[in-house]
């Protein structure tokens, strides 16, 4: 059974990946703004966990990963969606987030599918948002910006 991490563990992993401080900020997640999703498989079980982001977190994290200028990320935040040159980066953030759902690597958790606006969220993601256990975070990436991240597992 996969589990949800703590907010601190999430911020710590992302800080390590992005090479800069990531802080848990104040604010509330607005589900309507979650337009990026990664679904994870654990062994034979599909949709064993989900990671959802708004365009802000996806853009800032994706840009920070490759040290792209903040202005590049800000442009995507204004558009409300990411484009080709940063999708790979955001996908890698989703990939590494798979580590958040297991302790001491006891379970295999693999990024299975990735979804980016304008593609709608997969039904499994909206179902998990509505009925699963979730960790809602507003995270601030140092020198880039803040955005929403939701981790969810079946309830």
């Amino acid at each position: 059974m996969l589990h949800l991490p703590t907010p601190d563990a999430t911020a710590k992993l992302l800080a390590s990946l992005l090479g800069r401080p990531v802080k848990v900020g104040a604010g509330k997640v607005d589900d309507a703004k979650l337009t990026i999703a990664g679904t994870y498989r654990s062994g034979d079980i599909a949709n064993a966990a989900m990671c959802l982001m708004d365009a802000g977190f996806g853009a800032y994290a994706g840009a920070a990963l490759s040290l792209l200028p903040v202005a590049v990320a800000t442009g995507y935040v204004k558009k409300g969606r990411l484009e080709e040159d940063i999708l790979d980066n955001c996908g890698e953030v989703l990939n590494v987030c798979s580590r958040l759902f297991t302790s001491d690597d006891q379970h295999r958790v693999t990024l299975d599918t990735r979804h980016f606006a304008p593609e709608p969220l997969p039904p499994a993601a909206t179902a998990l948002l509505a009925g699963g256990k979730r960790l809602d975070l507003v995270l601030d990436i140092d020198k880039y910006g803040s955005g929403m991240l939701v981790l969810a597992v079946p309830g």
């Binding site: 390590s16 490759s66 990939n95 590494v96 798979s98 690597d105 006891q106 295999r108 958790v109 693999t110």
Partner: protein, 120 residues
């Protein structure tokens, strides 16, 4: 020396290159592959001194890449840089002949710990 980096994420290949540099390994020729199949072809053509590969890749995954190399009799040092690192995967990697397995996210120190014996 020549280092082959195989990962289907261009961003992650760039980060591995940057981290190798931060770890103090500079002046080496870097060649990149987008998946295991391309990695295998480049390993045969370019004869790198060290191969650093992701595990989950399209076409041919990292473990299949390593096994194909060893089946060819190629004993180039081979290490994984991967998100997953279950005990089962560590055993499979070691049994196939991997020299190390570094988990993402990683630090320059992680690379120093595992690559010092292979790189100047």
């Amino acid at each position: 020396m020549k280092i082959l980096i195989a990962d289907d994420s261009k961003a992650m290949r760039s980060i591995v290159v940057r981290t190798l540099r931060q770890a103090g390994y500079s002046g080496h020729k870097i060649i990149e592959a987008e998946d295991g199949a391309q990695g295998l072809a480049l390993a045969r053509d370019e004869e790198p001194d060290l191969i650093i590969s992701d595990w989950n890749m399209p076409q041919m995954n990292g473990l299949e890449f390593l096994k194909a190399l060893r089946a060819d009799g190629v004993e180039t040092p081979f290490g994984f840089v991967t998100t997953e690192a279950s005990p089962e995967m560590r055993v499979m990697a070691a049994e196939a002949g991997a020299a190390f397995l570094i988990t993402k996210p990683f630090t320059p120190e992680d690379f120093q710990q595992h690559c010092d014996r292979f790189l100047d």
